[in-house]
Structure formats: structure tokens, C-alpha cells
């Protein structure tokens, strides 16, 4: 089975090639475009499953194929691909979720005039993401990382004629670029210290003992710089501001990129270069990992709080994504790498499900404001059932839903962090908040009376509901490999042997998380039981929480004023710099130039008078001749730049021929 390692490169190459072909199709052939994209994704999925099967042979399987990219003087730059459980699990998740989303998009984007362009971008994104996962070199990873960023930019700004979409795309690109700047500095530093960017290279890679030994204390700083990039891509505080705005893109994009896969790249990156973070660890704690924990905690709690006060169905999910990514970062930081990756995989399924469900709702009632929906459960039964499954998986309802098990595992890892217990309690609060805002959303959208936008709602076509059902099944049955009774995935990722032991199912964490999630959902139902209907002196369109705590609600609804803060500080500062440069240019440098001009003018006046009085007479005759010649030549000056260019080309060709003839 190991032959698949030689063909790993095909996994990203197939969708990328499909994207190029689709790009050359005209919009009239949109059926072919969708078919090509889906076929590319199916091929990638099949190859990923083969690669996954190959990793099952031995525990802790790892195969590497390195090659030389180019030799530059003394230096040789080598790239490579790696196949290990981490990469294989990500490959299968990305291609499977990607396939569901591609199929869903056929229905969702059916009416769009740029259908083929959309599928070209989707395929491009998928290829770049798959390449990122199997890269065995930090440089190759960085290249795919940037390609993913580009795909995200293109897809967020897909409806480019909408100014808000264009602005959101720009914001996403620039914000992640700030993080990537740090990432790139980290890459350079790492190369400077260890002389290699390969992760695994027979003991000499930068993640293996040979490379780590050369890093010494600088590993902490390199890890933190790389974490900047991860924070940008995974929407960690303070670089999270782009992710909610990225909801301007079409909903399948939100599902694919801003929930299931791309934003997971940051978490994946930290997991991939984990030896850099944990090098020199005492008792499993390093300063770089501590930073990761606290950033994760801040992000998870802040985003969960903001999500409670949002009205846009997609924005709630966006903040929920930010919050869940924070949770994963915490898990990585406290040493639960396998738990973090398991949550990442489970999250990929159920968050894609939730986003596609939201897409189905938006498709059905042409509205994104949850206050204008309500009572949709009878009108959109399939969407409702699958959405409820996604909601329970995200809230972490134990036993039947994948999210519950992975969340438990993360809480378990966090509880045993030696440095502090605060993250554990804060994460429990985060779980309550998650259950609360998801309950709020489901009540607003699917229960209660039908409000304005729900009147004309209808269930989505089969092509859109089928992916929902598939993803819902994934969200449930994925938990088979996650339970503490048979933690197969955990063993698969860490390479430890696994035994089946039913007694481990009942552990204290199960009851804690049952209580916590129950509290969240219970409080949610109690607060929002009358959401959307007037209650006492509260009008129908006011949120119960807003009615009770208008100041706090406004603070959260305005996203804690972080965007405004950036506007007033960083953006205002660069605005002042720009104004200053503009002023310098206009008045100072322009003044200098004008001054010199004036001197020239004075000289000019002097020479003119000398000319006119002294030299003029005899020259007049010559000028008359020259003028005649000029009139003749000016006919050749058509003013058409391309004529000139053509003349240059012909002249060059003539010179070449002359040269060939002489030689």
C-alpha cells in the first residue's frame, strides 16, 4: 500500500488541474464545470482514502518523499511530502466535507451568473488546502498557505460588485497577512538556525532531534512567530476580526473555508510543528505553549460572548467557529494534541453541516436575520432535523454526537494542565455559552411563530439536502471512533495501542459535561422561550437579553468595539502617515521642484532674448526646411501606441535578420 506515498502529490494536483480547466470554460457550460469540480474532488477523496488505508498498516506510520527544488550557490533547497496519521486524517476530512459542499453548491449557486468561476475557485481552494496538509517542508507549507489565503480572498469577494464583499475580502487578506508576516519571519529564522525547512528528513529535519538541537532557546521565539501566522489564519484574538466579515462570501464558501477547513489550517500548523513548541518542555509546559493557551482561552470566551448577541444567522456561526478554534488552540497548548485534532476533525463535519443548513435556510427564505424567521421546522423538515443534529454536536451533547466526545477529551486535557486551573473553568463557561447561543439560534429560526421572512419559505432541493444528510450522519457516526471506551482515533493519531473497555465510558467528565451542556441549553430555552413574540411590555423584535441588559447586549452586538478600536488606532495611524506623506509630496517636494523650475524659467527668458535678438535670422530658413520635413514625418505619428509598438517589433526583427545574415 505504500506505493500511494509516491503519488501523494496527485491529491492536491487533481483539484488544482480541475480548477485550471474549469477556468477556461465559458459560463454557458456550467454543467461541465460542476461535473469537473466534483470529479476532481471524488478522485482526491479516493486517493486520500487510499493514503489513509496505507497509514493503518503500522501504528505511528510515517512516510516521507523529499526532492530537491533548486540549488542556489552552495545552498540546496529541498521540499517534500509527508504522509502520517495527522495528514491522512485531515486529507479524508477535507475531501469528504469538500465533496458534500461542492454538491450542495450546485443547488445553492444554480442561479448565479458566475457559476463556472465559483467552481474554479472552489477547486483551487481545495487543491491548495490538500497540498498544505501533506507538505513536508515549512516553505512548501507556506506556499500552499498563501495559495489558500488567495483562494479565500477570491471567494469572500466572489460577489465583487457588492462593496461590502470587496471590503471584507480585502480585510481578510490584509489581516491574515499581518500574521503571515510573523510566520515568514519565523520561517527565515528557522532556516537561518537549522539550515533546513524539512519537517522530517531521516533525523535531520527541523522537527527531529537533529534539527531541534541546533535551535536551542530560539525555538520559543520561532514557535511564537509561527503562531502569529496560525492566529491570523485561525482567527485568534487579536486577528479574529476578518472571520465574521468573511461571511460576505456565498454560504458554501463560509462552510468550506471559514468553518470546516481553511481556518483549521492554523490549528493544523501548530499541531504539525508541535515539536518546536514543546522543545525544552518542563512537565509539558513551555512559554510558547502557555501563550497559545491564553490566546485560545481569550478567543474562545470572547467569541462565544459576542455570538450571543448577533442577529445574522451566519455571523453567529462565524463567531462560534472563532470560539471553537480557540478551544482547539487551548487543547494544543495544554498538551492535548490528539484531542485538539480530533475536535478539529469533528468540528469540520458538524460546522460544515451547520453552515450548509444555514445556507439552506437562507436559500429558502432569502433572509439572514434570525429575528425575521421563526417556525421553520414544519416548512423545512430536513434542514431542521440535520441542523438540530449539528447544533447538538456543536453544543457538545454527550453520548450520541461527535462534538460531545471531543469536547470532553479537551476538557479532560485542560483539567490536567499543571500551570493553572483557570483555563479549565473558563472552558467550562465557554461550553455553557456555546450551548446557550446555539439554543437561541435554533429557537429563533425553527421554533415560535412564523415572522416576515418565514412566510414564503420552502424546503431546498434534493441536491442541497443530500449533503446535509451525509454530513449529519458523519457528525453522529464519527463518534464511534471517539468514545473513551474505544478511543481508536486517539490511538491512531498518537500511535498508542487501543483496547476496547466499556467501563471507561462512565467517567466523571461525562457527568460534568452533561451538567454543563444541560445548563446551557436549559438556560437558553428559559430565556428565549418567548423570543420573537411580544412579552409583557417587550416588543417582538427586541431580544429578551437586550430587553434585560441593553447596555451589555449592545456591547456584545457591536463585537466589543474591537473593529472600532482598530479603526481609531492602527488604521487612524496609517491614515495620518499617509496624509503626512501626501502633504510632504504636495508642498515640500513639489515646492523644491517648482523652485528649480522657476530658476530654469529665468534662464530660459534670458536665452530667449539672446536667441531672438542675436541668432534668429539665419536659423529661420533652416527651420522652414525642418518644418516641411516634420510635416512629412508627422503623418507617421498616428498617436496609436500599438502602431509604435509594432514598428519597434518589426525593427527588432529586421536587426535580428541582419545579424543572422552577417554572421
Amino acid at each position: 500500500m505504500s506505493w500511494i506515498v509516491d503519488y501523494l502529490w496527485m491529491i492536491p494536483a487533481v483539484p488544482l488541474a480541475a480548477s485550471l480547466v474549469i477556468l477556461s470554460l465559458s459560463n454557458a457550460r456550467h454543467k461541465n464545470a460542476a461535473a469537473l469540480a466534483v470529479i476532481g474532488q471524488v478522485v482526491a477523496l479516493a486517493l486520500s482514502v487510499l493514503a489513509f488505508a496505507a497509514t493503518l498498516q503500522v501504528p505511528g506510520f510515517r512516510a516521507v518523499r523529499n526532492f530537491t527544488w533548486f540549488t542556489f550557490g552552495e545552498q540546496t533547497l529541498r521540499l517534500g511530502f509527508v504522509l502520517d496519521p495527522l495528514a491522512a486524517a485531515m486529507l479524508v476530512m477535507i475531501t469528504l466535507v469538500g465533496l458534500c459542499i461542492f454538491v450542495f453548491s450546485i443547488g445553492y449557486m444554480a442561479e448565479d451568473k458566475d457559476f463556472t468561476r465559483f467552481f474554479a475557485y472552489l477547486s483551487f481552494f481545495s487543491g491548495a488546502m490538500l497540498g498544505l496538509v501533506i507538505a513536508n517542508s515549512l516553505l512548501l507549507l507556506f506556499i500552499f498557505w498563501e495559495l489558500v489565503g488567495l483562494a479565500s480572498y477570491l471567494l469572500i469577494g466572489f460577489w465583487i460588485e457588492k462593496p461590502s464583499a470587496a471590503a471584507a475580502a480585502k480585510k481578510a487578506f490584509i489581516t491574515t497577512r499581518i500574521g503571515d508576516m510573523g510566520f515568514f519571519l519565523g520561517v527565515l529564522w528557522l532556516y537561518g538556525r537549522s539550515g533546513t525547512l524539512l519537517f522530517y528528513d531521516g533525523g535531520n529535519g527541523c522537527l527531529e532531534n537533529g534539527g531541534l538541537a541546533m535551535l536551542g532557546a530560539s525555538a520559543t521565539f520561532i514557535a511564537l512567530l509561527i503562531f502569529c501566522g496560525a492566529a491570523g489564519k485561525s482567527g485568534q484574538f487579536p486577528l479574529h476580526v476578518w472571520l465574521p466579515d468573511a461571511m460576505e462570501g456565498p454560504t458554501p464558501v463560509s462552510a468550506l473555508i471559514h468553518a470546516a477547513t481553511m481556518v483549521a489550517a492554523g490549528v493544523f500548523l501548530v499541531a504539525r510543528v508541535y515539536p518546536l513548541f514543546s522543545s525544552g518542555a518542563i512537565n509539558g509546559v513551555t512559554s510558547s505553549l502557555t501563550v497559545v493557551v491564553w490566546i485560545g482561552v481569550t478567543t474562545a470566551l470572547m467569541a462565544a460572548l459576542i455570538a450571543i448577541a448577533q442577529e445574522d444567522i451566519k455571523r453567529i456561526l462565524a463567531y462560534s467557529t472563532v470560539s471553537q478554534l480557540g478551544l482547539m488552540m487551548v487543547s494544543l497548548g495544554v498538551g492535548g494534541v490528539a484531542a485538539g485534532i480530533m475536535h478539529l476533525l469533528a468540528h469540520g463535519f458538524f460546522k460544515a453541516l451547520l453552515f450548509l443548513g444555514a445556507g439552506s435556510v437562507i436559500h429558502g427564505c432569502h433572509e439572514q436575520d434570525i429575528r425575521k424567521m421563526g417556525g421553520l421546522r414544519r416548512l423545512m423538515p430536513v434542514t431542521f432535523v440535520t441542523y438540530a443534529i449539528g447544533m447538538m454536536a456543536l453544543s457538545g451533547v454527550p453520548l450520541f454526537f461527535s462534538g460531545g466526545w471531543t469536547k470532553e477529551e479537551i476538557l479532560h486535557a485542560t483539567a490536567h494542565w499543571p500551570r493553572s486551573h483557570a483555563p479549565y473553568y473558563l472552558m467550562l463557561a465557554g461550553v455553557v455559552l456555546t450551548a446557550l447561543y446555539m439554543t437561541r439560534q435554533v429557537i429563533y429560526v425553527f421554533f415560535g411563530n412564523r415572522r416576515a421572512a418565514a412566510e414564503r419559505a420552502h424546503e431546498s432541493p434534493r441536491v442541497m439536502t443530500m449533503p446535509l444528510i451525509v454530513l449529519a450522519l458523519c457528525a453522529i457516526f464519527f463518534s464511534v471512533v471517539l468514545t473513551p471506551a474505544w478511543p481508536w482515533l486517539h490511538g491512531y493519531l498518537t500511535g498508542e495501542p487501543v483496547r476496547f473497555e466499556i467501563a471507561r465510558l462512565l467517567q466523571p467528565m461525562l457527568f460534568i459535561s452533561l451538567a454543563v451542556v444541560g445548563a446551557g441549553i436549559g438556560v437558553g430555552i428559559w430565556i428565549y422561550r418567548k423570543a420573537g413574540v411580544p412579552d409583557r411590555d417587550r416588543p417582538a423584535d427586541i431580544d429578551p437579553l437586550e430587553y434585560a441588559q441593553p447596555g451589555l447586549f449592545r456591547f456584545l452586538a457591536k463585537k466589543m468595539w474591537i473593529d472600532e478600536f482598530y479603526d481609531r488606532s492602527i488604521i487612524a495611524f496609517s491614515w495620518i502617515c499617509a496624509r503626512f506623506s501626501d502633504w510632504m509630496d504636495r508642498y515640500f517636494w513639489d515646492g523644491l521642484v517648482r523652485g528649480f523650475g522657476a530658476i530654469g524659467q529665468v534662464f530660459g527668458t534670458v536665452t530667449t532674448s539672446v536667441d531672438e535678438r542675436g541668432i534668429n535670422a539665419g536659423v529661420d530658413e533652416t527651420t522652414a526646411g525642418a518644418r516641411g520635413l516634420g510635416r512629412l514625418m508627422s503623418a507617421a505619428h498616428s498617436g496609436q501606441i500599438q502602431t509604435y509598438l509594432g514598428a519597434i517589433a518589426i525593427g527588432m526583427l529586421a536587426l535580428l535578420l541582419l545579424y543572422a545574415w552577417l554572421a
Binding site: 542556489f72 507617421a636 498616428s638 500599438q642 517589433a649
Partner: protein, 104 residues
């Protein structure tokens, strides 16, 4: 199969010709810029190809020149696009056929 120098030269000549054709025949200023970029890319490809097939010991001259050319091309593209925007603001068109103020 390892490609020979000729293959690279043919590709680069083709790239150059396509770029030239684009620069000569497109009406839209941005497409002309793209054509020019393609011609630059062809020249870069030549540099790299000759450098690559140069017998060792090699000096990284071909790469250095190509890197410089890329940097300059980036600056050129920035200036070119700025010019296109300025022209568009002034004339409300980017069709080069209509920009014939230099007509004699």
C-alpha cells in the same frame, strides 16, 4: 525524459510571441500590460534556462538577473496600473485606440 535547452528556448520564444501578439492586438490597456509581463517572463525563462544548462561550476548570475527582472517587473506593473487608472480617470476609457493625443 529531461528537457533540453532547445525546449526551454522554444517555450520562451512562444511565450514572447504570445505576449507580443497580446500587446499589439488587444485594445484594453490592462491586457497590453499583461502582454508585456508575458514578454518579460519569456526573457526571465531564457535567463534561467541558459543558467540551468551552463556547465558547472555555475555562478548564480542567471538567477540574480531573473530576480532583479522580477522585482523591476513588479515595479513596472505598479506604475503601469497606476498609469492606467490615471488615464481612465482623465479620459473615461482604457481603450488605447481612443488615446491618440500624440497624433502628429
Amino acid at each position: 525524459m529531461t528537457p533540453t535547452l532547445q525546449v526551454f528556448l522554444i517555450v520562451s520564444a512562444a511565450l514572447f510571441s504570445i505576449g507580443l501578439l497580446a500587446a499589439l492586438s488587444r485594445r484594453h490597456a490592462i491586457f497590453i500590460l499583461i502582454g508585456i509581463e508575458m514578454m518579460l517572463a519569456a526573457a526571465n525563462l531564457n535567463f534561467i534556462a541558459f543558467w540551468r544548462f551552463d556547465p558547472p561550476p555555475k555562478q548564480p548570475i542567471g538567477v540574480m538577473i531573473a530576480l532583479f527582472a522580477i522585482a523591476i517587473a513588479a515595479a513596472e506593473a505598479a506604475v503601469g496600473l497606476a498609469l492606467v487608472i490615471a488615464v481612465y480617470r482623465h479620459y473615461r476609457t482604457t481603450n488605447v485606440d481612443q488615446l491618440d493625443q500624440l497624433k502628429g
